[in-house]
Amino acid sequence: MKSYLAVLRGSFMIGLIYRYGFLFNIAGNIIYMLVTYYLWKSIYQGREVLRGLTFDQTYIYVALGSAVFILLKTYVDWLLSFDIREGMIASYLIKPIDLQFYILFNSFGYSLMSLAAITLPTLILMIFVLHIEIPLGIGLALFPLSLLLAYLVSFCFDYFVGLLCFYTESIWGLSITKEIIVTVLSGALIPLQFFPDTIQKILFWLPFQAIYYTPLTMVAQPNLSMDTFLPMLGLQLFWVIVLFVFTRLFYNQAIKVLRISGG
Protein backbone atom coordinates (compact mmCIF):
# COMPACT_ATOMS: atom_id res chain seq x y z
CA MET A 1 0.00 0.00 0.00
CA LYS A 2 2.83 2.36 0.89
CA SER A 3 4.35 2.08 -2.55
CA TYR A 4 1.01 2.87 -4.21
CA LEU A 5 0.67 5.99 -2.11
CA ALA A 6 4.13 7.04 -3.22
CA VAL A 7 2.98 6.66 -6.82
CA LEU A 8 -0.05 8.79 -6.04
CA ARG A 9 2.08 11.48 -4.46
CA GLY A 10 4.42 11.44 -7.44
CA SER A 11 1.73 12.00 -10.02
CA PHE A 12 0.11 14.68 -7.87
CA MET A 13 3.43 16.55 -7.93
CA ILE A 14 3.86 16.08 -11.68
CA GLY A 15 0.41 17.58 -12.12
CA LEU A 16 1.75 20.74 -10.50
CA ILE A 17 4.11 21.35 -13.40
CA TYR A 18 1.24 22.35 -15.64
CA ARG A 19 0.24 25.20 -13.39
CA TYR A 20 -0.56 27.82 -15.95
CA GLY A 21 -2.75 25.40 -17.87
CA PHE A 22 -5.10 25.44 -14.87
CA LEU A 23 -6.17 29.00 -15.63
CA PHE A 24 -7.19 28.12 -19.16
CA ASN A 25 -9.02 25.07 -17.93
CA ILE A 26 -10.96 27.11 -15.40
CA ALA A 27 -11.68 29.79 -18.01
CA GLY A 28 -12.85 27.07 -20.40
CA ASN A 29 -15.19 25.67 -17.74
CA ILE A 30 -16.68 29.06 -16.96
CA ILE A 31 -17.23 29.87 -20.64
CA TYR A 32 -18.80 26.47 -21.13
CA MET A 33 -21.14 27.08 -18.18
CA LEU A 34 -22.20 30.44 -19.57
CA VAL A 35 -22.80 29.07 -23.05
CA THR A 36 -24.80 26.10 -21.76
CA TYR A 37 -26.80 28.53 -19.64
CA TYR A 38 -28.03 30.25 -22.79
CA LEU A 39 -28.50 26.97 -24.59
CA TRP A 40 -30.70 25.49 -21.86
CA LYS A 41 -32.52 28.80 -21.36
CA SER A 42 -33.62 28.63 -24.98
CA ILE A 43 -34.43 24.93 -24.72
CA TYR A 44 -36.75 25.62 -21.81
CA GLN A 45 -38.11 28.79 -23.44
CA GLY A 46 -40.13 29.70 -20.38
CA ARG A 47 -41.42 26.18 -19.82
CA GLU A 48 -41.63 25.32 -16.13
CA VAL A 49 -40.67 21.65 -16.32
CA LEU A 50 -39.25 19.44 -19.07
CA ARG A 51 -39.07 15.68 -18.56
CA GLY A 52 -39.67 16.12 -14.84
CA LEU A 53 -36.77 18.52 -14.41
CA THR A 54 -36.94 22.24 -13.74
CA PHE A 55 -34.53 24.59 -15.47
CA ASP A 56 -32.53 25.03 -12.26
CA GLN A 57 -32.16 21.29 -11.76
CA THR A 58 -31.07 20.70 -15.33
CA TYR A 59 -28.67 23.61 -15.29
CA ILE A 60 -26.98 22.57 -12.04
CA TYR A 61 -26.66 19.09 -13.48
CA VAL A 62 -25.00 20.31 -16.67
CA ALA A 63 -22.81 22.96 -15.03
CA LEU A 64 -21.53 20.60 -12.35
CA GLY A 65 -20.95 18.02 -15.09
CA SER A 66 -18.51 20.36 -16.79
CA ALA A 67 -16.76 21.08 -13.48
CA VAL A 68 -16.12 17.41 -12.70
CA PHE A 69 -15.37 16.44 -16.31
CA ILE A 70 -11.62 16.86 -15.80
CA LEU A 71 -11.71 14.61 -12.71
CA LEU A 72 -13.47 11.74 -14.41
CA LYS A 73 -11.16 11.85 -17.39
CA THR A 74 -8.30 9.61 -16.33
CA TYR A 75 -6.22 9.61 -19.56
CA VAL A 76 -5.20 6.09 -18.57
CA ASP A 77 -5.79 4.84 -22.12
CA TRP A 78 -3.37 7.42 -23.52
CA LEU A 79 -0.72 6.84 -20.83
CA LEU A 80 -0.92 3.10 -21.18
CA SER A 81 -0.66 3.19 -24.97
CA PHE A 82 2.30 5.54 -24.72
CA ASP A 83 4.02 3.16 -22.30
CA ILE A 84 3.34 0.23 -24.59
CA ARG A 85 4.67 1.99 -27.68
CA GLU A 86 7.77 3.26 -25.94
CA GLY A 87 8.41 -0.05 -24.20
CA MET A 88 8.20 1.59 -20.77
CA ILE A 89 5.62 -0.96 -19.78
CA ALA A 90 8.41 -3.49 -19.26
CA SER A 91 9.78 -1.51 -16.35
CA TYR A 92 6.42 -1.76 -14.57
CA LEU A 93 6.07 -5.44 -15.25
CA ILE A 94 9.33 -6.34 -13.54
CA LYS A 95 8.40 -4.46 -10.38
CA PRO A 96 6.62 -6.31 -7.57
CA ILE A 97 3.48 -4.24 -8.03
CA ASP A 98 0.12 -4.84 -9.59
CA LEU A 99 -0.17 -3.00 -12.91
CA GLN A 100 -3.84 -2.15 -12.56
CA PHE A 101 -3.42 -0.66 -9.09
CA TYR A 102 -0.22 1.10 -10.07
CA ILE A 103 -2.04 2.81 -12.93
CA LEU A 104 -5.07 3.50 -10.79
CA PHE A 105 -3.08 5.29 -8.10
CA ASN A 106 -1.02 7.10 -10.68
CA SER A 107 -4.07 8.54 -12.38
CA PHE A 108 -5.79 9.20 -9.08
CA GLY A 109 -2.92 11.51 -8.17
CA TYR A 110 -3.53 13.56 -11.30
CA SER A 111 -7.23 13.72 -10.55
CA LEU A 112 -6.60 14.95 -7.00
CA MET A 113 -4.40 17.65 -8.48
CA SER A 114 -7.19 18.59 -10.91
CA LEU A 115 -9.65 18.60 -8.04
CA ALA A 116 -7.58 21.08 -6.08
CA ALA A 117 -6.48 23.22 -9.01
CA ILE A 118 -9.38 23.17 -11.44
CA THR A 119 -12.61 21.74 -10.07
CA LEU A 120 -12.65 23.51 -6.70
CA PRO A 121 -11.82 26.95 -8.15
CA THR A 122 -14.44 26.35 -10.84
CA LEU A 123 -17.01 25.48 -8.19
CA ILE A 124 -16.13 28.53 -6.14
CA LEU A 125 -16.53 30.80 -9.17
CA MET A 126 -19.70 28.98 -10.09
CA ILE A 127 -21.27 29.62 -6.70
CA PHE A 128 -19.94 33.08 -5.87
CA VAL A 129 -19.57 34.73 -9.26
CA LEU A 130 -22.19 33.06 -11.44
CA HIS A 131 -24.47 32.78 -8.38
CA ILE A 132 -25.56 29.25 -9.13
CA GLU A 133 -27.25 28.05 -6.00
CA ILE A 134 -26.63 24.43 -5.09
CA PRO A 135 -29.64 23.08 -3.19
CA LEU A 136 -28.97 21.25 0.06
CA GLY A 137 -30.18 17.73 0.76
CA ILE A 138 -29.00 14.22 1.54
CA GLY A 139 -28.03 13.79 -2.10
CA LEU A 140 -25.33 16.41 -1.68
CA ALA A 141 -23.87 14.49 1.26
CA LEU A 142 -23.72 11.31 -0.80
CA PHE A 143 -22.19 13.09 -3.79
CA PRO A 144 -18.48 12.65 -2.87
CA LEU A 145 -18.91 8.91 -2.42
CA SER A 146 -20.85 8.64 -5.65
CA LEU A 147 -18.22 10.67 -7.48
CA LEU A 148 -15.50 8.36 -6.24
CA LEU A 149 -17.41 5.31 -7.50
CA ALA A 150 -17.98 7.13 -10.80
CA TYR A 151 -14.26 7.70 -11.04
CA LEU A 152 -13.57 3.99 -10.60
CA VAL A 153 -16.07 3.06 -13.31
CA SER A 154 -14.57 5.62 -15.67
CA PHE A 155 -11.11 4.30 -14.83
CA CYS A 156 -12.14 0.77 -15.82
CA PHE A 157 -13.35 1.97 -19.21
CA ASP A 158 -10.13 3.84 -19.87
CA TYR A 159 -7.98 1.00 -18.60
CA PHE A 160 -9.84 -1.44 -20.82
CA VAL A 161 -9.28 0.73 -23.90
CA GLY A 162 -5.64 1.06 -22.89
CA LEU A 163 -5.34 -2.74 -22.75
CA LEU A 164 -6.87 -2.98 -26.21
CA CYS A 165 -3.73 -1.20 -27.39
CA PHE A 166 -1.85 -4.42 -26.67
CA TYR A 167 -3.65 -5.67 -29.76
CA THR A 168 -4.06 -2.63 -31.98
CA GLU A 169 -1.01 -0.53 -31.08
CA SER A 170 -2.99 2.53 -32.07
CA ILE A 171 -4.99 4.60 -29.70
CA TRP A 172 -6.52 7.72 -31.23
CA GLY A 173 -9.49 6.07 -32.90
CA LEU A 174 -10.33 3.72 -30.04
CA SER A 175 -9.99 6.36 -27.41
CA ILE A 176 -12.03 8.97 -29.23
CA THR A 177 -14.80 6.44 -29.94
CA LYS A 178 -14.91 5.42 -26.28
CA GLU A 179 -14.88 9.05 -25.24
CA ILE A 180 -17.90 9.93 -27.38
CA ILE A 181 -19.87 6.86 -26.35
CA VAL A 182 -19.18 7.41 -22.67
CA THR A 183 -19.81 11.17 -22.77
CA VAL A 184 -23.15 10.89 -24.54
CA LEU A 185 -24.53 7.70 -22.97
CA SER A 186 -23.48 8.54 -19.42
CA GLY A 187 -25.47 11.74 -19.50
CA ALA A 188 -22.48 14.09 -19.27
CA LEU A 189 -23.95 16.51 -21.79
CA ILE A 190 -27.69 16.07 -21.21
CA PRO A 191 -29.49 14.44 -18.26
CA LEU A 192 -30.63 10.96 -19.23
CA GLN A 193 -34.28 11.95 -18.67
CA PHE A 194 -34.15 13.78 -21.98
CA PHE A 195 -33.35 10.65 -23.97
CA PRO A 196 -36.19 8.93 -25.82
CA ASP A 197 -37.91 6.40 -23.55
CA THR A 198 -36.70 3.22 -25.22
CA ILE A 199 -33.10 4.40 -25.16
CA GLN A 200 -33.47 5.33 -21.49
CA LYS A 201 -34.66 1.81 -20.72
CA ILE A 202 -31.65 0.31 -22.47
CA LEU A 203 -29.24 2.71 -20.77
CA PHE A 204 -30.54 1.63 -17.39
CA TRP A 205 -28.97 -1.78 -17.95
CA LEU A 206 -25.62 -0.40 -19.03
CA PRO A 207 -22.76 0.86 -16.84
CA PHE A 208 -22.44 4.31 -18.47
CA GLN A 209 -25.00 6.01 -16.24
CA ALA A 210 -22.82 5.25 -13.21
CA ILE A 211 -20.25 7.76 -14.46
CA TYR A 212 -22.09 11.08 -14.79
CA TYR A 213 -25.79 10.58 -14.38
CA THR A 214 -25.71 9.11 -10.85
CA PRO A 215 -23.45 11.61 -9.05
CA LEU A 216 -24.88 14.63 -10.90
CA THR A 217 -28.45 13.63 -10.12
CA MET A 218 -27.58 13.52 -6.43
CA VAL A 219 -26.69 17.20 -6.54
CA ALA A 220 -29.36 18.34 -8.99
CA GLN A 221 -32.19 16.59 -7.15
CA PRO A 222 -30.80 16.19 -3.63
CA ASN A 223 -34.21 15.78 -2.04
CA LEU A 224 -35.15 12.48 -3.58
CA SER A 225 -35.50 9.91 -0.83
CA MET A 226 -32.88 7.51 0.50
CA ASP A 227 -34.90 4.77 -1.19
CA THR A 228 -33.86 6.27 -4.52
CA PHE A 229 -30.27 7.06 -3.66
CA LEU A 230 -29.21 3.81 -2.02
CA PRO A 231 -30.05 1.60 -5.01
CA MET A 232 -28.24 4.10 -7.24
CA LEU A 233 -25.10 3.84 -5.11
CA GLY A 234 -25.51 0.07 -4.95
CA LEU A 235 -25.67 -0.10 -8.72
CA GLN A 236 -22.53 1.99 -9.02
CA LEU A 237 -20.72 -0.31 -6.61
CA PHE A 238 -21.97 -3.32 -8.58
CA TRP A 239 -20.48 -1.93 -11.80
CA VAL A 240 -17.19 -1.06 -10.10
CA ILE A 241 -16.80 -4.66 -8.95
CA VAL A 242 -17.92 -6.19 -12.25
CA LEU A 243 -15.68 -3.96 -14.35
CA PHE A 244 -12.66 -4.41 -12.09
CA VAL A 245 -12.97 -8.18 -12.29
CA PHE A 246 -13.59 -8.02 -16.01
CA THR A 247 -10.55 -5.84 -16.75
CA ARG A 248 -8.35 -8.07 -14.58
CA LEU A 249 -9.41 -11.12 -16.52
CA PHE A 250 -8.92 -9.27 -19.78
CA TYR A 251 -5.44 -8.20 -18.68
CA ASN A 252 -4.45 -11.83 -18.25
CA GLN A 253 -5.41 -12.43 -21.87
CA ALA A 254 -3.95 -9.22 -23.28
CA ILE A 255 -0.56 -9.61 -21.60
CA LYS A 256 0.03 -12.73 -23.66
CA VAL A 257 0.14 -10.81 -26.93
CA LEU A 258 2.30 -8.00 -25.62
CA ARG A 259 5.48 -7.58 -27.57
CA ILE A 260 7.94 -4.98 -26.53
CA SER A 261 10.43 -3.48 -28.89
CA GLY A 262 12.85 -1.12 -27.30
CA GLY A 263 12.45 0.60 -23.93
Partner: protein
Protein backbone atom coordinates in the same frame (compact mmCIF):
# COMPACT_ATOMS: atom_id res chain seq x y z
CA UNK B 1 10.35 32.48 -55.33
CA UNK B 2 8.07 29.65 -56.27
CA UNK B 3 4.83 30.18 -58.06
CA UNK B 4 1.51 29.06 -56.73
CA UNK B 5 1.44 26.21 -59.27
CA UNK B 6 4.83 25.01 -58.06
CA UNK B 7 3.51 24.81 -54.53
CA UNK B 8 0.47 22.83 -55.56
CA UNK B 9 2.61 20.37 -57.51
CA UNK B 10 5.00 20.08 -54.60
CA UNK B 11 2.13 19.52 -52.20
CA UNK B 12 0.86 16.62 -54.27
CA UNK B 13 4.29 15.02 -54.39
CA UNK B 14 4.78 15.33 -50.63
CA UNK B 15 1.32 14.06 -49.71
CA UNK B 16 1.45 11.08 -52.06
CA UNK B 17 4.55 9.89 -50.25
CA UNK B 18 2.99 10.66 -46.90
CA UNK B 19 -0.17 8.71 -47.69
CA UNK B 20 1.85 5.75 -48.92
CA UNK B 21 3.71 5.72 -45.62
CA UNK B 22 0.51 5.99 -43.60
CA UNK B 23 -1.11 3.17 -45.48
CA UNK B 24 1.25 0.74 -43.79
CA UNK B 25 -0.92 1.19 -40.72
CA UNK B 26 -4.21 0.32 -42.33
CA UNK B 27 -5.95 -0.85 -39.14
CA UNK B 28 -5.08 2.42 -37.45
CA UNK B 29 -6.55 4.33 -40.37
CA UNK B 30 -9.81 2.38 -40.24
CA UNK B 31 -10.22 2.67 -36.46
CA UNK B 32 -9.36 6.36 -36.56
CA UNK B 33 -11.86 7.00 -39.32
CA UNK B 34 -14.59 5.30 -37.32
CA UNK B 35 -13.61 7.38 -34.27
CA UNK B 36 -13.63 10.55 -36.33
CA UNK B 37 -17.05 9.71 -37.66
CA UNK B 38 -18.53 9.18 -34.20
CA UNK B 39 -16.88 12.19 -32.65
CA UNK B 40 -18.06 14.49 -35.39
CA UNK B 41 -21.64 13.34 -34.94
CA UNK B 42 -21.73 13.80 -31.13
CA UNK B 43 -23.16 17.32 -31.05
CA UNK B 44 -25.71 16.38 -33.68
CA UNK B 45 -26.75 13.47 -31.47
CA UNK B 46 -27.24 15.89 -28.59
CA UNK B 47 -29.49 18.08 -30.76
CA UNK B 48 -31.46 15.01 -31.81
CA UNK B 49 -32.05 13.98 -28.20
CA UNK B 50 -33.05 17.49 -27.14
CA UNK B 51 -35.58 17.74 -29.96
CA UNK B 52 -37.38 14.76 -28.48
CA UNK B 53 -38.67 17.19 -25.83
CA UNK B 54 -39.05 20.46 -27.73
CA UNK B 55 -40.45 21.45 -31.16
CA UNK B 56 -37.89 24.16 -31.95
CA UNK B 57 -34.77 25.76 -30.54
CA UNK B 58 -34.91 29.56 -30.56
CA UNK B 59 -37.02 29.40 -33.69
CA UNK B 60 -34.91 26.82 -35.53
CA UNK B 61 -36.22 23.42 -36.47
CA UNK B 62 -34.18 20.26 -36.04
CA UNK B 63 -33.59 19.92 -39.79
CA UNK B 64 -32.35 23.49 -40.01
CA UNK B 65 -29.83 22.72 -37.28
CA UNK B 66 -28.80 19.61 -39.20
CA UNK B 67 -28.10 21.83 -42.20
CA UNK B 68 -26.01 24.21 -40.09
CA UNK B 69 -24.20 21.21 -38.65
CA UNK B 70 -23.42 19.81 -42.09
CA UNK B 71 -22.05 23.20 -43.10
CA UNK B 72 -19.97 23.28 -39.93
CA UNK B 73 -18.50 19.85 -40.55
CA UNK B 74 -17.43 20.75 -44.07
CA UNK B 75 -16.05 24.07 -42.87
CA UNK B 76 -13.83 22.50 -40.19
CA UNK B 77 -12.51 19.77 -42.49
CA UNK B 78 -9.76 21.77 -44.25
CA UNK B 79 -8.33 22.58 -40.83
CA UNK B 80 -8.43 18.91 -39.88
CA UNK B 81 -7.03 17.58 -43.15
CA UNK B 82 -4.47 20.19 -44.17
CA UNK B 83 -3.41 21.86 -40.92
CA UNK B 84 -3.35 18.93 -38.51
CA UNK B 85 0.38 19.38 -37.90
CA UNK B 86 -0.54 22.49 -35.91
CA UNK B 87 -1.00 20.29 -32.84
CA UNK B 88 2.67 19.33 -32.91
CA UNK B 89 3.93 22.91 -33.07
CA UNK B 90 4.39 23.12 -29.32
CA UNK B 91 6.53 19.97 -29.28
CA UNK B 92 8.72 21.21 -32.13
CA UNK B 93 9.15 24.58 -30.48
CA UNK B 94 9.85 22.99 -27.10
CA UNK B 95 12.31 20.41 -28.40
CA UNK B 96 14.01 22.77 -30.84
CA UNK B 97 13.19 20.57 -33.84
CA UNK B 98 11.28 23.51 -35.27
CA UNK B 99 14.61 24.88 -36.47
CA UNK B 100 14.65 22.50 -39.41
CA UNK B 101 11.82 24.39 -41.08
CA UNK B 102 14.05 27.43 -41.51
CA UNK B 103 16.40 25.60 -43.82
CA UNK B 104 14.38 25.12 -46.99
CA UNK B 105 13.71 27.70 -49.68
CA UNK B 106 9.99 27.29 -49.14
CA UNK B 107 7.27 29.19 -47.42
CA UNK B 108 7.62 28.04 -43.83
CA UNK B 109 3.96 27.62 -43.08
CA UNK B 110 3.57 25.60 -46.25
CA UNK B 111 6.56 23.42 -45.44
CA UNK B 112 5.49 22.90 -41.86
CA UNK B 113 1.84 22.04 -42.59
CA UNK B 114 2.70 19.83 -45.57
CA UNK B 115 4.32 17.34 -43.20
CA UNK B 116 0.94 15.98 -42.28
CA UNK B 117 -2.14 15.18 -44.26
CA UNK B 118 -4.89 13.89 -42.06
CA UNK B 119 -6.63 11.07 -43.89
CA UNK B 120 -9.27 10.50 -41.24
CA UNK B 121 -10.41 14.08 -41.76
CA UNK B 122 -11.73 12.91 -45.13
CA UNK B 123 -14.37 10.90 -43.22
CA UNK B 124 -15.47 14.08 -41.55
CA UNK B 125 -15.64 15.88 -44.89
CA UNK B 126 -17.65 13.07 -46.48
CA UNK B 127 -20.05 12.90 -43.53
CA UNK B 128 -20.47 16.69 -43.66
CA UNK B 129 -21.29 16.65 -47.36
CA UNK B 130 -23.76 13.81 -46.83
CA UNK B 131 -25.47 15.64 -43.97
CA UNK B 132 -25.65 18.91 -45.90
CA UNK B 133 -27.21 17.21 -48.93
CA UNK B 134 -29.66 15.27 -46.76
CA UNK B 135 -30.78 18.36 -44.86
CA UNK B 136 -31.13 20.49 -47.97
CA UNK B 137 -33.30 17.80 -49.59
CA UNK B 138 -35.46 17.59 -46.48
CA UNK B 139 -35.78 21.37 -46.32
CA UNK B 140 -36.46 21.63 -50.08
CA UNK B 141 -33.73 24.16 -50.58
CA UNK B 142 -33.59 25.11 -54.24
CA UNK B 143 -30.09 25.19 -55.57
CA UNK B 144 -29.21 27.54 -58.39
CA UNK B 145 -25.76 28.14 -59.79
CA UNK B 146 -25.54 31.41 -57.91
CA UNK B 147 -26.44 29.69 -54.67
CA UNK B 148 -23.86 26.98 -55.20
CA UNK B 149 -21.26 29.65 -55.89
CA UNK B 150 -22.32 31.35 -52.65
CA UNK B 151 -22.06 28.05 -50.81
CA UNK B 152 -18.52 27.45 -52.00
CA UNK B 153 -17.47 30.99 -51.24
CA UNK B 154 -18.94 30.96 -47.73
CA UNK B 155 -17.49 27.51 -47.02
CA UNK B 156 -14.10 28.75 -48.12
CA UNK B 157 -14.18 31.76 -45.83
CA UNK B 158 -15.70 29.75 -42.96
CA UNK B 159 -12.84 27.28 -43.13
CA UNK B 160 -10.37 30.17 -43.14
CA UNK B 161 -11.96 31.48 -39.95
CA UNK B 162 -11.60 28.09 -38.30
CA UNK B 163 -8.01 27.69 -39.45
CA UNK B 164 -7.11 31.22 -38.35
CA UNK B 165 -8.54 30.82 -34.84
CA UNK B 166 -6.64 27.58 -34.27
CA UNK B 167 -3.48 28.99 -35.79
CA UNK B 168 -3.59 32.02 -33.53
CA UNK B 169 -3.99 29.77 -30.51
CA UNK B 170 -1.17 27.47 -31.60
CA UNK B 171 1.17 30.41 -32.26
CA UNK B 172 1.09 31.13 -28.54
CA UNK B 173 3.74 28.39 -28.44
CA UNK B 174 6.34 30.84 -29.76
CA UNK B 175 5.96 33.00 -26.69
CA UNK B 176 4.74 30.78 -23.86
CA UNK B 177 6.28 27.48 -25.02
CA UNK B 178 3.42 25.22 -23.96
CA UNK B 179 0.46 26.38 -26.01
CA UNK B 180 -1.67 23.34 -25.29
CA UNK B 181 -4.01 25.04 -22.79
CA UNK B 182 -4.65 27.90 -25.24
CA UNK B 183 -5.16 25.46 -28.09
CA UNK B 184 -7.41 23.29 -25.95
CA UNK B 185 -9.56 26.28 -25.09
CA UNK B 186 -9.85 27.29 -28.77
CA UNK B 187 -10.81 23.71 -29.58
CA UNK B 188 -13.47 23.66 -26.88
CA UNK B 189 -14.92 26.96 -28.09
CA UNK B 190 -15.18 25.55 -31.59
CA UNK B 191 -17.89 23.17 -30.39
CA UNK B 192 -20.20 26.15 -30.00
CA UNK B 193 -19.93 27.15 -33.64
CA UNK B 194 -22.93 25.09 -34.85
CA UNK B 195 -25.22 26.56 -32.17
CA UNK B 196 -27.77 29.15 -33.31
CA UNK B 197 -26.17 32.45 -32.37
CA UNK B 198 -29.53 33.98 -31.53
CA UNK B 199 -29.70 31.91 -28.34
CA UNK B 200 -27.03 34.21 -26.91
CA UNK B 201 -27.62 37.67 -25.59
CA UNK B 202 -25.53 40.82 -25.99
CA UNK B 203 -22.06 40.10 -24.65
CA UNK B 204 -21.75 36.57 -25.95
CA UNK B 205 -23.23 37.29 -29.34
CA UNK B 206 -20.86 40.23 -29.68
CA UNK B 207 -17.89 38.03 -28.73
CA UNK B 208 -18.80 35.23 -31.12
CA UNK B 209 -19.43 37.72 -33.92
CA UNK B 210 -16.60 40.22 -33.58
CA UNK B 211 -13.92 38.95 -31.20
CA UNK B 212 -13.78 35.18 -31.67
CA UNK B 213 -15.97 35.08 -34.78
CA UNK B 214 -17.24 31.52 -34.39
CA UNK B 215 -20.60 32.63 -35.77
CA UNK B 216 -18.93 32.87 -39.16
CA UNK B 217 -17.88 29.23 -39.12
CA UNK B 218 -21.42 27.97 -39.67
CA UNK B 219 -24.39 29.89 -38.35
CA UNK B 220 -24.21 33.21 -40.21
CA UNK B 221 -23.32 31.81 -43.64
CA UNK B 222 -25.99 29.07 -43.30
CA UNK B 223 -28.71 31.70 -43.07
CA UNK B 224 -28.05 32.56 -46.67
CA UNK B 225 -29.57 29.20 -47.59
CA UNK B 226 -32.00 28.64 -44.73
CA UNK B 227 -33.81 31.97 -44.88
CA UNK B 228 -32.59 33.78 -47.99
CA UNK B 229 -35.43 36.31 -47.84
CA UNK B 230 -34.43 37.41 -44.37
CA UNK B 231 -30.65 37.56 -44.10
CA UNK B 232 -28.94 40.03 -41.84
CA UNK B 233 -26.38 42.21 -43.65
CA UNK B 234 -23.61 40.83 -41.46
CA UNK B 235 -23.45 37.71 -43.63
CA UNK B 236 -22.01 39.63 -46.55
CA UNK B 237 -18.96 40.36 -44.46
CA UNK B 238 -18.15 36.69 -44.14
CA UNK B 239 -15.49 36.57 -46.93
CA UNK B 240 -13.81 39.63 -45.44
CA UNK B 241 -13.84 38.08 -41.98
CA UNK B 242 -12.34 34.84 -43.31
CA UNK B 243 -9.58 36.43 -45.36
CA UNK B 244 -8.90 39.18 -42.83
CA UNK B 245 -8.60 36.79 -39.92
CA UNK B 246 -6.36 34.43 -41.82
CA UNK B 247 -4.13 37.33 -42.84
CA UNK B 248 -3.90 38.32 -39.19
CA UNK B 249 -3.05 34.76 -38.15
CA UNK B 250 -0.41 34.56 -40.87
CA UNK B 251 1.09 37.81 -39.63
CA UNK B 252 1.25 36.47 -36.08
CA UNK B 253 2.81 33.23 -37.33
CA UNK B 254 5.48 35.25 -39.17
CA UNK B 255 6.18 37.30 -36.07
CA UNK B 256 6.44 34.13 -34.03
CA UNK B 257 8.72 32.43 -36.52
CA UNK B 258 10.98 35.48 -36.62
CA UNK B 259 11.20 35.79 -32.86
CA UNK B 260 11.89 32.12 -32.19
CA UNK B 261 15.44 31.55 -31.10
CA UNK B 262 15.53 27.80 -30.65
CA UNK B 263 16.27 25.95 -27.47
CA UNK B 264 19.99 26.50 -27.46
CA UNK B 265 20.86 22.85 -27.81
Amino acid sequence: MHSFIDYIRLYFIIETQYIKARMQYRADFIISSVGMFFSSLATLGVFWIIFDSIPDLAGWSFMQLVFIYGFYMIAISPMQILFDHIWQLRFHVQQGTFLKYYFRPLNMMFYYMSEMFDLKGLTQLAAGIGILIYASLQLHIEWSLVRIAFLLLTLFSASLVQIAITLLAACAAFWVIDSYPVLGLAWKLREFAPYPMNIFDGAFRFTFTFIIPLGFVAFYPSQLFLQPENVSPIIYFSPIVGIGLFALAYKVWTLGVNSYTGTGS
